[in-house]
């Protein structure tokens, strides 16, 4: 292939030098049949769709009336075309799936047209945040698709989608989405600033972003909500939050978030408020139970067996009579087994994973009790605790919950119940100090805000949700127009 450009176009030459090593770089010479104008098409074959080039562009360029470069946008049937003289655009555009047209003799002018190849899976069903009722669409890896999913749910001009590029090498596109008139400007600025400040070579998923822009990176608690549900993102944006969508990631990020939100499932909003409040309370109980039950077992059996009434104590002692280990070892052994099962199940394909679950759960559990390594009471407790920990609707939070019980266990072994309370205090302090995009993480529990309690531990009816959460400091605190608020009627009026 002959290099058609002279010294003028050093930018392209330099590019070509590197690019010609790659097989998918194409630089093809054509001549128009009518006007005999010679031109070049340059593109990266793996990023472009040949069908578009062959059907929408080439026939017109070859047989149309092409005299100079300015004719190109009029000839071809592609809407996204652009004429530029900046040689720096070449690299940027080529690697975003554009095709470059250059007419011989006028190499300084560059014409680009879009011919991106859209590869990727089609929109699927949410798997991490499955819900029985409600929409079944989930985000995919393509940002275009994801933005479409959000945009079509909020068809107003106030919806702003800002785009940034993150990552020195990966050049990942990141979109910040918010509602112009509603979202607090400070929150938007914080997100934008933190995204711009990211200094990293490659970003392949939104989980990179969430770890980098968190307020406290040394905390086990997730400080931004990540979700694969477009409906959840939409609801959050309308509520006044900021969403971040990362190209190549099927998980959007939402912030600022709170601890209670991380324990709420989006399905809560599909169910009647009484039912969903009940489920939330169940979940709250499950989490507390899951963190505390093994430490309490260890604490009571190691130090405070007087706590247990006589009848219950005899049952406990009977189950532990033949066991050679102290309670802490027994508990750690079983906890680790459960962790192993979970980890193995997560790494293996679904079908094998199920088998592992059965083998692990039933065989190891029963066998260890029969072998006299653990007591069956503890087996029940640990299995229940594991089950309870899986009720957390946000996967990231579930992992945190599973991790939290280990420090509690150690403190329980150290100082019994006092140790448990002490470690609880540490956790509480950590949570009070934690912020999400600068907003208090524990809100509405602390700082206590009665108004935000309507959608926290329980969820009240939509009638009571007329106000946006206080902690978001929204520009429009009311969700409805004030004048629409109805006055309460008396009976028989």
């Amino acid at each position: 292939m002959k290099i058609p450009f002279k010294k003028k176009n050093t930018e392209k030459e330099a590019l070509e030098k590197v690019l010609s090593k790659s097989n998918d770089y194409k630089n093809i010479h054509f001549t128009n049949e009518k006007t005999k104008v010679e031109f070049y098409l340059t593109f990266i074959a793996s990023l472009t769709d040949e069908k578009i080039i062959h059907k929408e562009a080439l026939p017109y360029l070859l047989h149309g009336e092409l005299y100079n470069l300015d004719d190109v946008p009029e000839l071809i049937t592609i809407a996204e075309t652009e004429i530029s003289t900046n040689p720096k655009d070449i690299e940027l555009k080529l690697f975003n799936g554009y095709v470059l047209v250059q007419v011989v003799g006028n190499e300084e002018q560059l014409c680009f047209f879009a011919a991106q190849r859209e590869v990727g899976r089609s929109i699927g069903v949410p798997e991490v945040e499955f819900s029985v009722i409600g929409p079944k669409e989930a985000f995919v890896e393509s940002m275009k698709q994801n933005l479409n999913l959000v945009r079509k749910r909020i068809p107003v001009k106030e919806l702003v989608i800002e785009e940034l590029t993150v990552g020195k090498i990966s050049k990942t596109k990141v979109a910040i989405i918010y509602l112009e008139e509603i979202t607090n400007q400070e929150n938007i600025n914080t997100v934008r600033q933190r995204l711009q400040d990211i200094d990293i070579d490659g970003v392949t998923d939104s989980s990179f972003i969430v770890q980098i822009i968190s307020d406290n990176q040394n905390s086990p608690f997730p400080q931004l909500l990540d979700t694969e549900r477009p409906d959840r993102v939409t609801a959050s944006i309308i509520e006044g939050k900021v969403a971040i969508i990362v190209d190549g990631s099927p998980h959007a990020l939402i912030g600022p978030t709170t601890l209670v939100e991380l324990f709420s499932s989006f399905e809560d909003y599909f169910l009647n408020w009484i039912v969903s409040s009940f489920f939330r309370l169940i979940r709250l109980f499950a989490v507390t139970f899951s963190i505390l039950v093994t430490p309490i077992y260890v604490a009571t059996l190691s130090y405070h067996y007087e706590l247990i009434p006589r009848d219950l104590l005899s049952a406990l002692v009977a189950s532990r009579r033949a066991i050679p280990f102290p309670p802490i070892l027994e508990a750690l052994f079983l906890e680790l087994t459960i962790e192993l099962l979970r980890e193995a199940g997560a790494r293996l394909p679904t079908k094998v994973g199920q088998t592992i679950g059965i083998v692990g759960g039933i065989v190891i559990g029963t066998a260890s009790v029969e072998a006299g390594l653990t007591s069956n009471v503890l087996l029940i407790i640990i299995a229940l605790a594991a089950l309870a920990s899986f009720t957390t609707p946000v996967y990231r939070m579930g992992n945190t919950i599973r991790l939290l019980r280990f420090p509690f266990l150690l403190f329980a072994e150290l100082w019994g119940l006092v140790g448990i309370v002490l470690s609880f205090c540490i956790m509480l302090t950590h949570l009070i100090r934690l912020t999400s995009l600068g907003r208090p993480y524990l809100e509405p529990l602390y700082p206590p805000r009665r108004q935000d309690m309507k959608d926290a531990l329980i969820r009240l009816s939509f009638k009571n949700q007329a106000k946006r959460p206080v902690f978001l400091r929204s520009k429009h605190p009311s969700r409805l127009d004030e004048r629409d608020a109805k006055q309460k009627q008396d009976i028989d009026e």
Partner: protein
């Protein structure tokens, strides 16, 4: 003279309720019944109410002073006595709050040692405890308030549990009412006042309150609720114990828990004592915070440096108190200081402030 605190470090006025109540409601509640009944007998509940009224008056005086100078304790002292004297007074208050921290921690450790772990090492427990305290204070006053908030809300259920003693209660114990002389009852009030002290920390965190005028009612409400809780507990205790038996229990509150029995739990005092950790922690944090805050106001040293140093001093002090007698001596000492401070010094200071204000006004006028 006024102190400016950034808006986002301040607390809402109603949170003052929790801080004030928290400081009043600490380790004292585990054993105050015996002490007040020593002189006032089973009329002591009247002593509690009288003490409560006295606290309301002092609280009013504190607010009056703070409003006059619109600052904190240091500003008041500077306003009245000038800079040098205020520094000396400030040093004294640093020491006072340090002692308070030490007392709180050491008393709690003692209870744990007596009731749960006889071989608990004071040093190691205090070390971990103080590390948590430092961690809390490093979060700023908002975090300290947060712990105070949870320190009240979470263990609140404990109050209901005292109702388990009702089947064994003999309310006739309280009769006849006003069986003791007024001076005995007043002496009981004095003893009671030792356990309801701590609200004077308001003098230090006042600049941290967002809408200071609104916080008044919350502070008074806090004092009122503390008094009510103490009366409630005293009446239940007096009904539960015969008078002579009460004098044999150092911590009657804990003994009362022993009666609680549920199908899955007995000997509730274990849970109670463990729970008290959550109540003591904010107490110690507020006290140590006050201490470091005064140091900052006096010498403008960063709290980040003073807090660990002060905590270290507390750690050494707590570890050096070995016997029950020493602990008792210390808590008596702190109680006495607190008593004279609150009921004699602060009212006098109010008078001095008002005079100083008048004098300065006249100076400006002439």
């Amino acid at each position: 003279m006024s102190v400016s605190i950034p808006e986002n470090k301040k607390i809402s006025p109603f949170l003052v309720f929790f801080v004030v109540q928290k400081m009043q409601f600490g380790i004292g509640i585990l054993g105050f019944q015996r002490i007040i009944a020593k002189t006032a007998g089973y009329d002591a509940w009247i002593s509690i109410i009288l003490a409560g009224i006295a606290v309301h008056i002092v609280l009013w005086a504190l607010f009056k002073m703070l409003e006059t100078v619109n600052g904190d304790m240091i500003s008041i002292h500077t306003f009245v006595f000038g800079k040098i004297v205020s520094k000396i007074f400030g040093l004294f208050f640093i020491l006072y709050y340090l002692l308070l921290t030490v007392t709180v921690i050491r008393t709690y450790v003692e209870i744990v040692q007596v009731w749960m772990f006889t071989d608990l090492t004071t040093f190691w427990f205090s070390l971990i405890f103080l590390i948590v305290v430092v961690y809390i204070i490093f979060g700023g006053f908002r975090t300290v308030t947060g712990m105070a908030f949870f320190g009240i809300v979470l263990p609140f259920y404990v109050l209901a549990l005292f109702l388990f003693t009702l089947p064994y209660a003999e309310f006739d114990n309280l009769l006849p009412i006003l069986d003791h002389s007024i001076s005995d009852i007043l002496l009981g009030s004095k003893n009671m006042s030792l356990t309801v002290l701590g609200f004077e920390s308001l003098l230090i965190f006042y600049p941290f309150i967002k809408d200071q005028k609104k916080s008044k009612k919350w502070a008074h409400l806090a004092v009122f609720s503390t008094t009510m809780i103490y009366v409630y507990l005293a009446i239940l205790t007096f009904a539960y114990f015969p008078e002579n038996q009460l004098q044999k229990n150092i911590w009657p509150t804990l003994t009362m828990w022993k009666i609680i029995m549920m199908p899955f739990v007995e000997r509730f005092e274990y849970i109670g004592i463990a729970n008290w950790c959550l109540i003591i922690l904010p107490n110690a944090s507020i006290a140590l915070w006050c201490s470091s805050r005064i140091a900052k106001r006096l010498f403008s040293i960063k709290q980040r440096t003073t807090v660990p140093i002060l905590a270290f001093i507390c750690l050494i002090a707590t570890s050096l108190l070995f016997t029950r007698k020493q602990v008792n001596l210390l808590s008596d000492l702190v109680g006495q200081i607190g008593f004279y401070l609150n009921f004699f010094y602060f009212p006098l200071l109010l008078v001095a402030t008002l005079i100083a204000k008048k004098v300065k006004k006249n100076e400006v006028g002439s």
